[in-house]
Symmetry: C2
Subunit: 319 residues, 2 copies
């Protein structure tokens, strides 16, 4: 089985290619595509294609060997898509559409396509627990672009051009690497930085509730989606993924359990009204009924988010 | 006030331009755009632009005089969009997007834009009464394209590029003119043809329930949308319009009331499994709560659909 990953140099793409190389899928070869040089995992033949997905030739380069499974992860992230209107649409919508159209034009070819969508397709006002049937109403250009791409995946799947699934991913926590400036970045930072003995700032109230999954759960979900019997999905190929509904307080308690009070002392509390305003427009919990029934899972305790990080990304920090 | 109508040569476009010329909006001039020569109503200065909306120059031609209100009605209809994949996307998505992008690039310009969307954004399975919050899940490429265009209207409105409203129109009945081959065409034909003394065929059971509005109600809704205070819409600029939920039996009873048993005798009953299968996937009623609260209305009795047709389209048939 030949597997293609777009956005392969990103955090999720790197974890996914490593998981496939470890046997997460019965893959015989990997094609890794990104505008940056993606790291190649050991243990599987890898071809790299370093090209921006917006390049006119990108679809034919990526599809030349007819990959049986395509993970489409490449994206402009939400803050950037909001700041750069045309770039967001060019990557998140047009490049996705060009890829789907190129697949459509290839006769006798209908690959499994797993699209990394986002819970940003939803917008306020939210109920406390957002059901699968809640109507999307994005509050950002990023969410609009993801919703439009989901619609394309649905249409191409219905018409038999491909066999698609869109996964609406929870906020990934703990993200490895340096702190970024995304509004949601602090969720990872308040755990990751103290774990390494570094300070971090908490810009919102401890009572704030949000919806998380570890990067490892996200990779598991991508792999499951690649193998899923899509007949069970019906016409709506977009799935809200299970996640952990937890408060900031829950996260901090888990940190204390794992690392002691000294870790907590590294966290300063400087409320940021701008960040608070953004994250307060996000819901605290999704039902994810359909995905759970299909066997998708996520963490059920905040401590598991920490454990997944220590096991996958920072084994040297394990006590 | 300068008003632009795209798709001005279509049934709805012609009725809308006539209604504006009669004073339905405080318009001082009309620009009528279509790929076919649109008829110009009397009583108002009219400029015609005969160009396919997919023409690269179309947006700048249409927007040159900065119309304050834009009615965007031009579309490839549902059966054609299903049969011709690329044409449907080119007109219903790309031409709409090009128009919105051209507006975005004009500084100091944010017109009211009223977009004719469709209840085809929804797909089965349906509850008996579809609430406004029901999540769109189109069962056709046409529905996908309308949903994507609605998303663009929402994003451009949120960002202040324009002030948009999308109206999800019920099945229009009675459509004037010759019988067409749309799956929904028989709803109009079984009334329109007997009214003129011509035979018509009923391809579904009399118990079948559907959701209707007269073309006159649709025009009234477009005019109302042009004047609406959009602050009341919040972030979701798409409105399900009120309609009449009626069975085929209700329509036929209204025909008997207006024209007597002789009109009913002109209707043959040859069930068509293909048409039955299509229309059975459509719901019988929408709540349209938001639009009703904003003052949008439609017919409440089947006889009113007939009356609207006789008054607007076939006064010579009135008894």
């Amino acid at each position: 089985m030949h597997v293609l990953i777009t956005g392969a140099a990103g955090m999720l793409g790197r974890k996914l290619s490593a998981a496939i190389a470890r046997g997460g899928l019965p893959a015989t070869r990997l094609t890794l595509a990104d505008q940056l040089d993606p790291p190649a995992p050991a243990g599987i033949p890898v071809r790299k294609i370093v090209v921006p997905l917006t390049d006119r030739q990108a679809p034919q380069l990526l599809l030349a060997d007819r990959p049986a499974v395509i993970f489409h992860l490449a994206a402009v992230v939400s803050a950037e898509a909001e700041a750069e209107f045309e770039k967001g649409y060019a990557v998140n919508l047009d490049a996705t559409r060009a890829l789907l159209d190129a697949i459509r034009r290839m006769s006798g070819y209908a690959p499994r396509l797993v699209f990394a969508s986002s819970l940003a397709v939803f917008g306020p006002p939210f109920p406390d627990l957002v059901p699968d049937e809640f109507a999307p109403n994005p509050a950002s250009s990023y969410g609009i672009q993801k919703l439009m791409a989901e619609a394309l995946v649905n249409d191409h799947s219905r018409r038999g051009h491909l066999d698609g699934i869109s996964l609406r991913l929870p906020t990934l926590c703990i993200r490895p690497g340096a702190a970024n400036r995304a509004a949601s970045g602090f969720f990872s930072a308040i755990l990751r930085e103290p774990l390494a003995g570094h300070p971090a700032n908490l810009p919102v109230a401890e009572s704030f509730r949000h919806y998380f999954a570890s990067p490892r759960s996200a990779v598991d979900a991508l792999l499951r989606a690649a193998r899923l019997d899509t007949a069970a999905l019906g016409q709506n190929r977009a799935l809200v993924l299970p996640g952990l509904s937890a408060t900031v307080h829950d996260l901090l308690e888990a940190l204390r359990d794992r690392q002691g009070a000294r870790a907590l002392a590294l966290i300063s509390r400087n409320p940021d009204p701008a960040i608070t305003a953004i994250v307060e427009s996000w819901p605290g919990a999704y039902a994810a009924t359909r995905a759970r029934a299909l066997g998708f899972t996520a963490e059920t305790r905040a401590s598991q988010l920490i454990d997944a990080y220590l096991e996958e990304d920072a084994p040297f920090l394990r006590r």
